[in-house]
Amino acid sequence: MESLLHITTLHYLVLGAALFLLGVIGVLTRRNVVIVLMSIELILNAVNLNLIAFSRFWGGVHGQIFAIFVITDAAAEAAVGLGILIAFFRNKETVNVDEVNLLKW
């Protein structure tokens, strides 16, 4: 068990894994679509933390470049996801994922 006072890369990875786990729980258990989308943003942030921790570990900036692209991608995906949410909300006055069942037979 590594010392808890000397902060190594592993600490950041464990923190990233914990955030990822919280995001996964949010995606799997919440009914509100907006909160599901925010949990997806939590997952992306956990990945970013991993990337930047490794970028510092290896010394180059490649991980930071990747993290910038992940942030860009998260912005695009949040915009499109929220557009879909608004379009759906206009049809059915609900924000619950349970009631998104128009394609159900």
């Binding site: 190594t8 990822f20 799997l28 919440r30 909160i35 989308l37 939590l42 910038i68 942030i71 912005a75």
Partner: protein
Amino acid sequence: MNPVAEPALATPFFFYLLSGLMLIGGILVITRKNAVHSALALIVTLLAQSAIYLMLYAPFVAGVQIILYAGGIMVLFLFVIMLVNIDRALKERQFNRQWLVGMAAATALGGLFIAVYARGKAIFPERILTTAEGNNTQRVADMLYGPYMFAFEIASLLLLVAIIGAVVMAKKRI
């Protein structure tokens, strides 16, 4: 790229303070009834994460995170929450019917993480310290406009497609 010294990057106080803030913010995001509270908790998480990026000697990404993520994406989320905010949703059930299966899957994922950690933590060797370089933004710019130029252009194309897609999705009449 040769591996440089192990980063003793932070005083443990700041690391534990910021990581505690991030985890509390994350827990608040997934458990709050009110979506606005979740959005504000996510903003707290993002700001704490930006401070952790500063500790990892990535000031450019920290700035990008604050400006884009906390200042752009989360404001977009808050706008949409205001648009679709119905008081009826606050009184309904907050967790869906398969929450048990979801928690079981998340526990399995957590077990997988613990197993990976237990097996793999010997990979990271002890290293010596280095000093932080002062031209992080310059190096990021050299990389973005050099080897990663193609990905940079594709990212701007992706943003264009996302803008058009979001406008078309949210229009009343196409």
